[in-house]
């Protein structure tokens, strides 16, 4: 059984499931933006969880000034404000990922899941992206849960580290026994 915010995820359906999903944002290594939409539209897709379908349709036809401003602000936080009206298909791999992070910001989540966000990046880029994610989480007071393969990256960026081995918790840095041993 998996509990998120006190709810058993596997038993949620329909509206309740959608509500939970809207509170949990996901950033993954996959390029999961819709290439055919503009950057603005991809970023504001983060708001779909709290929008009705009518509002979504209205936004696609005529985005309001406030919506454009929200997207611009989110993009500014990932350093891409100038790409607001760019074509998504024309973005580089790194920009792609930062747009996906901006979408997660627009979602205003309480929990941000990052599923191997740096798996396909070089070390320097990996540090930049993790700095960005941890910084944003701190600023917005969001819990950030990030899965990584590189232990040194984990130690450099995160306060609490849980090591999984063959599906079991092998080590938890918040465990008093571990704290005594020291890092």
């Amino acid at each position: 059984m998996v509990r998120v915010a006190g709810e058993d995820v596997s038993r949620l359906r329909g509206r309740a499931l959608r509500h939970l999903r809207s509170r949990v944002a996901v950033v993954s290594q996959r390029h999961d933006l819709v290439d055919e939409l503009s950057v603005l539209q991809n970023v504001m897709a983060g708001a779909l969880g709290r929008w009705s379908s009518w509002r979504a349709l209205r936004f696609l036809l005529r985005p309001s000034a406030a919506e454009v401003e929200e997207a611009r602000a989110a993009l500014a936080r990932v350093g891409l404000a100038h790409k607001l009206h760019a074509r998504t298909a024309g973005l580089s791999g790194g920009e792609h990922q930062r747009v996906a992070i901006a979408r997660a910001l627009v979602q205003r989540p309480v929990l941000l899941l990052a599923d191997e966000p740096v798996a396909s990046l070089d070390p320097e880029r990996s540090d930049q992206i993790l700095d960005l994610l941890t910084g944003l989480a701190r600023e917005s007071n969001v819990t950030l849960l990030c899965s990584l393969h590189q232990t040194e990256l984990a130690h450099r960026h995160f306060g609490r580290i849980v090591e999984l081995r063959e599906g079991r918790i092998a080590m938890d840095s918040s465990d008093p026994a571990f704290l005594q041993e020291g890092i």
Binding site: R18, R21, S28, L48, S53, A56
Partner: protein
């Protein structure tokens, strides 16, 4: 004496060509108006079914079922419902193509790339929002290019529905035959070949710039608007529809059913077999990797001309020349199938692996032997699949040519309509639908089996 001779030479005068612009416009108008509604309705139904909204599965089934009603059957139905004229033709095409496109769109949406759609779902978006932000933009190109591809097909269908009173060039064509004015018939057929070739060309251009399909929308909207009054005479339409229910056949008609089904299947099977037999050598001659260009090019053009003329038009000419009955139907289907299959076969031959053919040629074998020992066995799988598809198509076409006097279930349907036996007509519509569905299912199963065989081969 010789009726065929009376079709030549084609009748040409500027005045006649000018007078034909109106019916040609009507035919284009029906096709554009029908496709316009079909794109909108198909998009809505397809999104509903493809996005998994409540009731989506039922909608998908309905779309599949409606698609199995041949377009001409639908046209007769619509002529009865809304009266003779382009409005009936537009409505028939709109219903037929809404179902066809709705189903294809639903299939496209169901097969959309998974990751971006999952990511949207993960934001907690409602299904309709996921469709708007994900499915539609992800598939926009396919939707547009498919829309135009269907316009080409709707143009042919638009001529066909004209033949039962839908208006346009089809109605003119029937008029020339009834007036025994066969030289004008030939002129109209030639005009039709040119028209289809032009649309073919436009489709080729559109493959590179799919967004240009948008030009259809204003034209289609205008066409729909012009045909609006009759189409919106709903009270009349519903009143007529009520008179079709419940469907019913007198007992002597039920006794005739096996013969009618037999005739329709005979037309479909005969047309497919003759078409196949003629298409194999013609396809080989049209294959650019076997025949020299001075042979393959003219053969290709010949096949395209055969294919440009719909079965019903062939049927109209043949019923006039060799008389009413299944024989005319078999030949009508054979002509069109030869053109359609010949082109597909040629493409299959061109796609065979080069190495085994080179090995055969290295033995010093003559061309005919290379064709028989190399090309035919290597392309057997695709050839069989194309032929089965053509047979499915021909079952629909066989019910259609029946309407113009080739016999079978189509003729029974048309007779019932002409005599205002609407409840009988409805019964024949349902029986046609059943026959087509059963053949599709059987043939589909066979095709899937053959795919498995190809994998093992």
């Amino acid at each position: 004496m010789n009726i065929l001779g009376q079709f030549f030479p084609p009748y040409f005068s500027l005045h006649y060509l000018g007078a034909m612009m109106t019916p040609i416009g009507e035919t284009l108008e029906m096709a554009a108006g029908g496709i316009f509604i079909a794109i909108l309705a198909g998009l809505m139904a397809g999104t509903w079914a493809g996005a998994g909204l409540p009731g989506g599965r039922i909608i998908y089934r309905l779309l599949a079922a409606f698609r199995s009603i041949p377009d001409l059957t639908m046209a007769i139905f619509c002529v009865v419902m809304v009266g003779i004229g382009p409005a009936a033709g537009t409505l028939a095409l709109a219903i037929f193509y809404s179902a066809a496109m709705g189903k294809i769109f639903a299939d496209l949406f169901l097969a959309a790339p998974k990751e971006p759609v999952d990511a949207l779902r993960a934001t907690g978006a409602a299904r309709l929002s996921v469709a708007m932000f994900g499915l539609l933009p992800l598939r926009s190109k396919d939707v547009l290019s498919y829309g135009f591809y269907e316009f080409e097909s709707a143009l042919r269908a638009s001529v066909i529905v004209g033949a039962v009173g839908g208006g346009g060039i089809g109605t003119e064509l029937v008029g020339t035959l009834n007036a025994l004015d066969y030289r004008r018939t030939t002129t109209l057929i030639l005009l039709l070949i040119v028209l289809v070739a032009l649309v073919d060309q436009a489709a080729g251009l559109l493959k590179r710039r799919p967004l240009a399909v948008m030009v259809l929308l204003p034209i289609g909207a205008a066409a729909f608007w012009m045909n609006r009054p009759a189409m919106l005479a709903m009270s009349h339409a519903f009143g007529t529809f009520a008179r079709m229910l419940p469907p019913e056949l007198p007992s002597d008609a039920i006794g005739q059913l096996p013969r009618l089904f037999g005739e329709t299947l005979e037309i479909a099977l005969g047309g497919t077999l003759i078409g196949m037999t003629a298409a194999v050598p013609l396809g080989l001659l049209a294959a650019r990797n076997l025949a020299p260009a001075w042979i393959s090019l003219p053969v290709r053009r010949f096949l395209e001309a055969l294919r440009a003329i719909p079965e019903v038009v062939w049927g109209l000419v043949l019923v006039t020349t060799i008389g009413i009955g299944p024989k005319a139907g078999v030949l009508a289907l054979a002509f069109h199938a030869t053109g359609a299959l010949g082109r597909l076969y040629a493409e299959s031959f061109e796609n065979i692996p080069a190495a085994p053919v080179r090995a055969l040629e290295a033995t010093g074998a003559p061309r005919v032997a290379v064709a028989a020992m190399g090309f035919l066995p290597l392309a057997l799988g695709p050839l069989a699949v194309h032929t089965l598809f053509r047979f499915e198509w021909n079952v629909r076409a066989a019910t259609i040519v029946g309407v113009i006097g080739a016999g079978g279930i189509g003729q029974a349907l048309y007779n019932a309509q002409q005599l205002f036996f609407y409840r009988q007509m409805m019964a024949y519509v349902l029986l046609t639908w059943m026959l087509v569905t059963i053949v599709d299912l059987a043939s589909g199963t066979l095709r899937r089996r053959m795919k498995v065989m190809e994998v093992f081969a």
